[in-house]
């Protein structure tokens, strides 16, 4: 009767956002990212004072900035991770379009900060590297296309996403930023692989990459110099790599002690590309091993959660984001220990850099949104109440 008179009591459609988020989110990855960020601040305290001194700032100027940017990155990550995959996709596509235009306009409005590559927009208080934001957007857009291609009567998304990947890679290579170009191609390759690429084609692609690398080596001086430096048998101790190697050796297993490191005074990129050398020198192999373990665990936990995922788009986008995140760390550390040729790539969440931090936060937020526990048509899911 009451209902007939007063209408039905409004029933909440689902449980409140925050509890649901906390229940379903990948808490391990969340913690790991927080840990990485704190390590980044810790190493920034060691690595950035020389740069601050050189540029005439207070000793911890860059640490403060790192904290501010890191806070923004964490907020971005939390907010993004609370979104539904559909909303993430919509926003990511919009963001991708904006970033794509921004990258395309770099040759007109961008600046190179005297580093020989036009990658940045100078905004006064900070600089913006749009390619960092382009990457996660591209992963989502490509995943969308690849997933659509698997629908019956779906669009030829594989071809579209491949063309898109090539366009972006060429744009980035022209800056020149071969590192990001490779990352974009890598992310697309991973998604294509997961989406069921024929093995034969994959081998052909590998051949093509080798061929492209050779071409780049022959026609780009920038590229060739780095490869040559890598291939030469003994490292010149006056190069960044030489200092980095020496720092890792000096550090040993337990480091030379907090603040005792010397490498930060000689390496111009100690706070970005070679921060792992600072970590190894001051805190030793122990900290480096912990950092590597954290990156590995983020990638592996994400991938294992995605293995259960039923939705093609979520699976592909998640795999692309997790792998490009993971491989960036591999490349950065690999360069510092001379396993890979020198390439300017930041260590996600640890290296100093506003754009890369915030873009990394958004990317990880997306990954967290994709890896949240969802009902997967298993009876256990129904019992556990995942909806």
């Amino acid at each position: 009767m009451t209902e007939m008179v007063y209408g039905s009591v409004p029933v909440s459609k689902g449980e409140p956002i925050l509890p649901k988020w906390w229940r379903t989110v990948d808490k391990w990855t969340l913690m790991s990212v927080m840990l990485l960020f704190s390590i980044g601040i810790l190493l920034g305290l060691a690595a950035s004072p020389p740069l601050a001194e050189k540029n005439g700032f207070a000793p911890f100027h860059y640490v403060q900035r790192q904290a501010v940017f890191g806070g923004m990155a964490l907020i971005a990550m939390f907010v993004t991770s609370m979104m539904s995959p559909i909303l993430v996709r919509r926003l990511a596509v919009l963001g991708f379009v904006a970033a794509f235009i921004a990258v395309a306009l770099l040759p007109v409005f961008g600046t190179d900060f005297g580093k020989g590559a036009v990658r940045w927009y100078a905004l006064g208080f900070a600089s913006l590297q749009p390619s960092e934001f382009l990457k996660p957007g591209f992963v989502v857009v490509s995943a969308w296309m690849l997933a659509a291609a698997q629908e019956i009567n779906g669009p030829p998304g594989r071809m579209y996403s491949f063309i898109l990947a090539m366009c972006i890679a060429v744009m980035l290579a022209l800056q020149p930023d071969f590192g990001q170009a490779c990352l974009v191609l890598f992310a697309w390759g991973v998604m294509y692989f997961v989406a069921g690429a024929p093995i034969l084609l994959l081998m052909g692609m590998a051949g093509l990459v080798v061929f492209g690398g050779t071409l780049a080596y022959q026609y780009s001086e920038h590229f060739a110099r780095r490869i040559d430096g890598f291939l030469s048998p003994d490292v010149d101790p006056r190069t960044q790599l030489g200092y980095a190697t020496n720092a890792i050796q000096e550090g040993g297993f337990f480091g030379v002690g907090v603040g005792e490191g010397q490498v930060k005074w000689s390496l111009p990129d100690a706070h970005t590309d070679f921060i792992i050398a600072v970590a190894a020198e001051e805190y030793g192999f122990v900290l480096v091993a912990i950092i590597i373990a954290i990156y590995a665990s983020i990638v592996l936990v994400s991938l294992s959660r995605l293995m259960r995922e039923r939705d093609t788009f979520i699976r592909l986008a998640g795999a692309g984001l997790a792998c490009s995140f993971g491989v960036q760390a591999v490349i950065n550390i690999g360069v510092a220990v001379r396993l890979l040729p020198a390439k300017g790539m930041t260590l996600p969440f640890i290296s100093y850099g506003g754009s890369s931090l915030i873009a990394g936060g958004i990317a990880l937020g997306m990954l967290l949104a994709f890896t949240r526990a969802r009902p997967q048509k298993n009876i256990a899911d129904v019992i556990n109440g995942y909806r």
């Binding site: 629908e151 010149d236 190697t245 020496n246 373990a293 592996l300 093609t312």
Partner: protein, 598 residues
């Protein structure tokens, strides 16, 4: 019935066709079918993706493990301490010394410094540039300021600086000025043996070291040997004798100046081993400051030009002994055979005449001592062109000499296009075939050592090549006796050096003019000598380019007046240096009428 569009696939027909008969909407059936297939396909795709994600996971585990292991091994290895020291490890900086046959230094290395600038570390570019310009007057301070403040991060200022300059630069006190250790090549004897040594310059240059590379002479020929780190402790021993070389160059220079010659060359060679004890070419240069090759004018006028091995000249009458020796070897004549010297010989438009008229008949030994062109040409006719060509080729007169100086390969003899009988006649007295003084020295060595062609060498102990017999020992011995007669009774009377029994043959060849004829009063005067005649040990060839003795009433240019006295003075000075004892010959040949040559 028409369909709105031909959709594929139109399945399952078994259900759609009856439904269509019944007039029901077939879309529902089709959509349901698509959904079902999609479900099935999705499951398959998911399982495949699951496998591939697993593969990715494993790949990442491997990547991270590799990196962790690498960091671990690096951490557990000892740091290589001195950071700057091994920077130049790729550049081998030691270059072996070069010494003469008695171990005296000809070339060695000296530690010095190079000066470079790292502009990023410069505190006061203007001031630094000004002070540098004061220390190094050849630098312009405006240009330095421009370089210092431009885009360049690194620039070389000087490749070698002296200790005083280094101190002065150090006193400027700017941290951007840097010194790089350098080894420079030093030739402590200056111009001595300049052409043999050649010179060295920097090859690959780094901050910490620079490579020394030989650019000419033995420095270039033995570049790999000198740079070989395994041999850096062992000096390269040359056959040269520093004191002999010095005496030769001194006398040669004096002779060249006195006789106002354009140039001169001398070669002293051990007839048994082929070791070159001294080789000189004037004008010369200082290998410490090797001049640039000339870009205009004649290459032969450059001090870099080595007349002894590069200059090809018609060597004149010095060749006559080869014709006589060959004829004796072939059994065509003996030293007392009388030759018809009635002249001139006409050959078409060409006439062969003698310097003086020596009468209608001359014995062979007098053909040599008096230097009769007509007599030699007749001997050449007896030998024949083919045999002569074979003999001279055996003597090495037709190919560049094999010798350890890079320049020797450029001394390619000029041969007649067609070796006709006329060519044979002119070649027999040294015209129509141009060769280097080194060729001549090798030919004379073969006569002096009993008929063996040796390979000349700049290495102590010789090149080790097996000698080739080119004539019998008896013919060679007879030839030496005749050559001794040239000095005692013939054209080279000024060549007598008491106690050293010099034998030899003069040669005065008119220089070819630019128009292809012969110059009237420009000659190449050559004296090829063997000493001591009774036991030949050395051959000395002295060549003067356009000598002129104006002391007398008329200018004298023949070798007897020019090259011979120079050679005699050289022998007088060097024979004791080489440990030759002066010997009094058994008898004075000049007073005895010779009746037999056996």
């Amino acid at each position: 019935m028409t369909y709105p569009s031909l959709r594929t696939p139109l399945r399952p027909l078994s259900r759609i066709l009856p439904a269509r008969e019944r007039g029901e909407n077939t879309d529902v059936i089709e959509r349901e079918n698509i959904r079902a297939r999609h479900e099935a396909e999705k499951e398959a795709v998911r399982q495949r993706a699951q496998g591939r994600l697993l593969v990715l996971g494993i790949v990442f585990i491997c990547l991270y493990s590799v990196i962790a292991i690498r960091v671990g091994t690096l951490s557990s290895s000892e740091p290589v301490e001195p950071r700057a020291q091994n920077a130049g490890a790729s550049i081998i900086a030691q270059r072996a010394d070069i010494v003469d046959r008695k171990g005296r230094i000809l070339a060695t290395n000296l530690e010095t410094h190079s000066l470079y600038v790292e502009t990023a570390h410069l505190i006061d570019p203007q001031q630094t540039a000004q002070e540098l310009a004061i220390i190094f007057p050849d630098l312009k301070s405006e240009k330095l300021v421009k370089d210092f403040t431009g885009d360049r991060k690194f620039l070389w200022i000087k490749k070698k600086i002296s200790p005083e300059q280094m101190q002065a630069v150090y006193d400027i006190g700017d941290p951007g000025l840097r010194f790089g250790p350098r080894e420079m090549r030093l030739y402590p004897n200056g111009k001595l043996a300049a052409h043999v040594l050649g010179g060295a310059s920097f090859g690959k240059e780094g901050v910490q070291a620079a490579e020394l590379v030989g650019v000419a002479g033995v420095e270039k020929t033995f570049d790999t040997r000198l740079r070989d780190p395994k041999m850096s402790g062992q000096p390269l021993e040359l056959s040269l004798d520093l004191s002999v070389q010095s005496a030769v160059e001194q006398v040669l220079y004096g002779g060249m100046k006195l006789l106002s010659a354009r140039g001169a060359a001398a070669i002293l060679i051990d007839v048994h081993t082929g070791e070159v004890v001294s080789i000189a070419s004037l004008p010369d240069f200082d290998p410490n400051h090797r001049p640039r090759p000339p870009v205009q004018g004649q290459a032969a006028d450059s001090p870099l030009f080595n007349r002894a091995v590069q200059g090809v000249y018609e060597l004149g009458s010095t060749f006559k002994i080869f014709a006589v020796a060959q004829a004796m070897d072939m059994g065509l004549l003996n030293p007392t055979t009388v030759m018809n010297t009635q002249g001139p010989i006409r050959w078409g438009k060409f006439k062969i005449r003698d310097y003086h008229d020596y009468g209608a008949k001359l014995p062979v030994w007098e053909v040599i001592t008096k230097s009769s062109n007509i007599g030699t040409a007749r001997i050449a006719q007896m030998i024949g062109a083919e045999e002569q060509q074979k003999f001279l080729t055996n003597l090495g007169m037709t190919d560049p000499i094999k010798f350890e100086m890079i320049e020797a390969s450029g001394g390619k003899p000029l041969l007649p296009k067609k070796w006709s009988e006329l060519s044979a006649m002119t070649i027999s007295y040294g015209h129509g075939l141009s060769a280097t003084p080194m060729h001549l020295a090798v030919g004379y060595a073969a006569i002096a050592n009993g008929g063996l062609r040796i390979q000349p060498s700049l290495l102590k102990g010789g090149a080790g090549a097996e000698p080739v017999r080119v004539m019998s020992a008896a013919s060679a011995a007879n030839s030496v006796k005749m050559l001794r007669g040239v000095v005692t009774d013939g054209t080279a009377s000024m060549g007598e050096v008491t106690g050293y029994a010099v034998a030899g043959k003069t040669g005065t060849a008119d220089k070819p003019s630019a128009q292809g004829r012969y110059e009237k009063d420009k000659v190449i005067a050559t004296f090829a000598s063997i000493f001591p005649a009774h036991d030949p040990k050395y051959v000395l060839v002295v060549t003067l380019d356009e000598p002129e003795d104006t002391a007398g009433s008329e200018a004298r240019r023949t070798a007897g007046w020019t090259a011979v006295p120079v050679a005699a003075e050289i022998i007088r000075r060097i024979a004791p240096l080489m440990g030759l004892r002066p010997e009094i010959e058994a008898g004075d040949l000049g007073d005895i009428t010779q009746v037999s040559w056996d």
